[in-house]
């Protein structure tokens, strides 16, 4: 028995020899364990890493901005691609379906690049800002998982939506439309989940005890989350519309056939329309966001609107002004070129609208504190001009923004009605009522704006500004259906001719896209900079060597760089996306010999002009605008 017991012992207890070996190994490995533990402790204590020469903040600035712009495009395009598809399905017009498909083609090629930049951004953030990321991960981990799920779903649906386009036609179209709806639903989720992380950094709330999901939800529901969500959602549509417009503009310049020229002229129009359509409510969303920021934290609000970032809003006014002018210019050129003989008829209304736009822009761009030399400041009695200084405050800005929206909307209505004659018996009355309403609305907006100087700020913010917005919305919501009903029975007096637009119309579309990218880069910087030296405002201080706000000139250079890089990226993506088109066209369709000569000084368009004698040609391939 004893023997048996001892026989089992070695399997349970180490022998002396084994113990000796173990001890030896332990002695050898002990320093290694210690080193590993040191390394782990050291890794845990690293708060920042840097990229020498470039600077961590600069790298993050560029990558984050590129990701955001690409994401804006990728999330904005499905909205109107789906609407276009829906219109095509309801109206039975194949061109809307083709347009929706072309929009989606751009989307699929941009999607992978967006994800790539997202991945790069994540790695860089983990590597360069480990402390911040550890903090955010601790709070938001459940929403990280939700984001991954949404991304997977979005990717799957996008593949099905794109590759199933031709298969799911006819009776299966409803399945495709459902996929389009789901695509937008997941896209919305993909946008609002990361928005919660970024807005928590700007307007953090107290995250109490609770489960991981409860904590994440509490942090998500912060004061600026929904204002940013709404603002970005609309801005993405604007960005997507203008980028698609620019794409159409470039394709229009490069068009080799009449059909192509017609198509891209129309696509450019749709892109511009979508951009304008989104741009109309965007200032309202921006105003709401600023109001929430002010209410959340007075310091942050003042830093943005009255402090060192205030000059950005003068630049913003200039960019928005150029965008409004560009969009209207394109509409007006559309009336002149696409509706032959209408130039003289609409000359006066266009001039009136242009003057109103310019006066409004002048007011919007007038700063509260003027840039003045010592001599000039002495003559003015300070940097506030006694008369024009009143243009510098919010009441004036809100008023002119509303008027510019109103004018742009009327520009669109005029374009819609151009070349048509209303036949409804009540058309005259309806037009008179619309005219009267427009005048009353304009006067009311101005009166409220002037009155706003004489009431407490809270009355202006809560009632007058809201009333101005409601007046403009009322005009838009009543005029649009009324005009639609009028146009339904209207007879076409001058058919709209596509493919006739001059070269500068395409440049105008490209300029609009560049302006909107620049604008988003500008306001992205403003939003991020408003946190000043905080990673998470008032909670986690930035203790890196970059805990200072860069000078505005330096920031402006980065915004320009970001815009340039994004334009390069977009050009590359679209070039890749359309590479296959040329191969599919074949020599007969793609040949320049097919190009008609009847173009107004623009064939071959990209060269900047054709002989003026080419103007006399009669355009073929006309379409009636609907």
């Amino acid at each position: 028995m004893t023997h048996d017991v001892n026989a089992h012992r070695p399997s349970r207890l180490p022998s002396a020899k084994c113990c000796a070996w173990s001890l030896l190994w332990a002695l050898i490995l002990l320093p290694a364990f210690a080193w590993a533990q040191d390394a782990a402790t050291q890794a845990m204590s690293v708060e920042y890493r840097d990229i020498p020469g470039l600077g961590s903040r600069n790298v993050i600035w560029i990558v984050a901005q590129q990701h955001l712009l690409l994401a804006g495009f990728v999330l904005g395009v499905p909205i109107f691609a789906w609407v276009c598809e829906l219109v095509g399905w309801k109206s039975g017009e194949a061109r809307y379906d083709n347009l929706a498909k072309e929009f989606t083609k751009l989307l699929t090629s941009a999607y992978a690049t967006t994800a790539l930049f997202g991945g790069i951004l994540l790695f860089l953030l983990i590597g360069l800002y480990p402390k911040l990321m550890a903090y955010l991960s601790d709070i938001f981990f459940p929403s990280f998982l939700a984001y991954c799920m949404l991304f997977l779903m979005e990717t799957a649906v996008l593949y099905l939506y794109w590759y199933g386009w031709d298969v799911m036609q006819g009776r299966k179209k409803w399945i495709h439309l459902t996929l389009g709806f789901l695509l937008n639903l997941f896209a919305l989720g993909i946008m609002i989940v990361p928005n919660s992380w970024a807005t928590f950094q700007a307007s953090p709330v107290v995250v109490g005890d609770g489960t991981a999901i409860e904590r994440a939800w509490a942090a998500t529901w912060n004061p600026t989350w929904w204002p940013v969500n709404i603002h970005r959602l609309i801005a993405n549509v604007v960005l997507g519309g203008f980028i698609c417009g620019a794409y159409a503009g470039i394709r229009y310049l490069l068009a080799a056939s009449r059909a192509e020229r017609d198509h891209y002229d129309w696509m450019g129009y749709v892109g511009n329309f979508i951009g304008v359509f989104g741009m109309l409510p965007l200032p309202f969303a921006g105003y709401w966001l600023m109001r929430e920021i002010y209410q959340y934290n007075q310091q942050m609000g003042i830093t943005l609107m009255g402090g060192f970032l205030a000059w950005l809003f003068i630049l913003q006014a200039m960019l928005i002004g150029v965008l409004f002018l560009g969009a209207n210019y394109y509409f007006w050129m559309g009336i002149t070129y696409r509706i032959p003989g209408s130039e003289q008829r609409y000359r006066r209304p266009i001039l009136a609208m242009l003057i109103v736009l310019m006066v409004c822009l002048g007011v919007w761009m007038t700063p509260h504190s003027l840039v003045a030399s010592l001599e000039e400041a002495r003559k003015m009695g300070g940097t506030h001009h006694p008369l024009l200084g009143v243009f510098g405050v919010m009441s004036a800005k809100m008023t002119v923004a509303n008027l510019m929206i109103l004018v742009t909307f009327m520009s669109f209505i005029m374009y819609w009605r151009a070349g048509k004659q209303e036949t409804a018996a009540w058309a005259k009355i309806a037009k008179s009522v619309m005219g009267a309403l427009l005048v009353v609305a304009g006067i009311a907006v101005v009166v409220l704006g002037v009155w706003g100087y004489f009431v407490p700020a809270i009355i202006r913010i809560n009632y007058f500004s809201v009333a101005q917005v409601l007046i403009v919305l009322f005009i838009m919501l009543t005029f649009t259906p009324l005009t639609a009903v009028l146009m339904k029975s209207a007879k076409v007096t001058t058919a709209m001719v596509w493919g006739q637009m001059p070269v500068r119309s395409a440049y105008c579309l490209v300029s609009n896209a560049v302006m909107v990218v620049l604008l988003m880069s500008l306001m992205g910087y403003a939003r991020s900079s408003s946190r000043v030296h905080w990673h998470i405002y008032g909670v986690m201080r930035d203790t890196s060597e970059y805990a200072y706000s860069p000078a505005l000139g330096y920031a402006a250079a980065f915004m320009s760089l970001n815009t340039f890089v994004f334009c390069l990226l977009a050009a590359f993506i679209f070039w890749v996306a359309t590479m296959g088109d040329k191969a599919k066209q074949g020599p007969a369709q793609g040949a320049r010999a097919d190009t008609p000569t009847g173009m107004p000084g623009m064939a071959p368009a990209v060269a900047g002009g054709a002989p003026t004698g080419a103007r006399t040609g009669t355009p073929t391939g006309t379409r009636t605008h609907e």
């Binding site: 007075q298 402090g307 840039v371 010592l374 002495r378 003015m380 006694p386 405050v393 809270i458 107004p600």
Partner: protein
């Protein structure tokens, strides 16, 4: 005789705008700084360019003379000589402008001052702890008359007897662009800490505002604020409506 050439019309419009902004408007108010005049002139040029280039014919009318001037087409004799003179003078003009901008001068550069920097955290969200009673307002206005009116004026318009000595001048409280845009806590900070208490944000600072915390108690400062708003006929920015 009506003017047909869009370019000539634009030139006349531009000249008219310049005359109006530089000489006529200052007859009724203070002169405008050059930055604002150039901004409005740029908008005028943009408006003309947009309007005249909406159609092909308009573009030719607007740009045609410029193109012909540059290429020399149709410019013979005296106009040809004038063209060459312009070509010779233009670089000189650019050179002179460059020299004028870069040459050393004893004039300080144009101001780009941040008027309203963000207040420090400890002043954010403070509310006036004293009720807005006639008695408190009267006390505040009395204190204002004693401590503030020499600079900010008895009429709250920034035109006190000492105001002429300051550049920039003291704030005009009756202007809806000053205290009416701010919360009471902001004024409390500015009065208490004065010019020397301003943050580095937006330096360099130019403010002769005394640091009143040495002379005035918090209670007095709050009452002065109340008196200022009442006297200037303004209301502070709030997030709640007063009942």
């Amino acid at each position: 005789m009506t003017m047909k050439n869009p370019l000539a019309k634009t030139a006349v419009l531009l000249a008219g705008m310049y005359v109006f902004l530089t000489w006529i408007l200052p007859l009724f108010t203070a002169p405008l700084p050059a930055s604002l005049i150039y901004l409005y002139l740029a908008l005028t040029v943009a408006a003309a360019a947009i309007f005249y280039t909406m159609s092909g014919a308009g573009l030719d009318d607007f740009m045609g003379p410029i193109g012909r001037f540059l290429t020399g087409e149709g410019h013979a004799g005296a106009t040809g000589t004038a063209r060459l003179v312009v070509f010779a003078l233009f670089p000189l003009l650019v050179g002179w402008q460059t020299y004028a901008k870069l040459a050393p001068s004893d004039m300080p550069p144009a101001e780009n001052r941040t008027i309203h920097p963000a207040p420090p955290g400890e002043f954010v969200g403070l509310a006036n702890p004293f009720p807005r009673t006639p008695g408190n307002i009267a006390t505040g206005q009395g204190l204002y008359a004693a401590y503030c009116s020499p600079c900010h004026g008895g009429n709250f318009d920034g035109k006190g007897p000492a105001s002429v000595g300051f550049n920039p001048p003291p704030a005009n409280f009756s202007d809806p662009g000053t205290i009416a845009q701010l919360q009471e806590s902001y004024l409390f900070w500015r009065i208490k800490k004065g010019g020397v208490g301003l943050p580095v944000e937006g330096m360099p600072w130019k403010s002769a505002m005394p640091r009143w915390e040495k002379e005035l108690t918090d209670e007095r400062i709050w009452k002065i604020i109340m008196g200022e708003y009442a006297g200037a006929g303004q209301s502070p920015r709030t997030w709640e409506e007063e009942e």
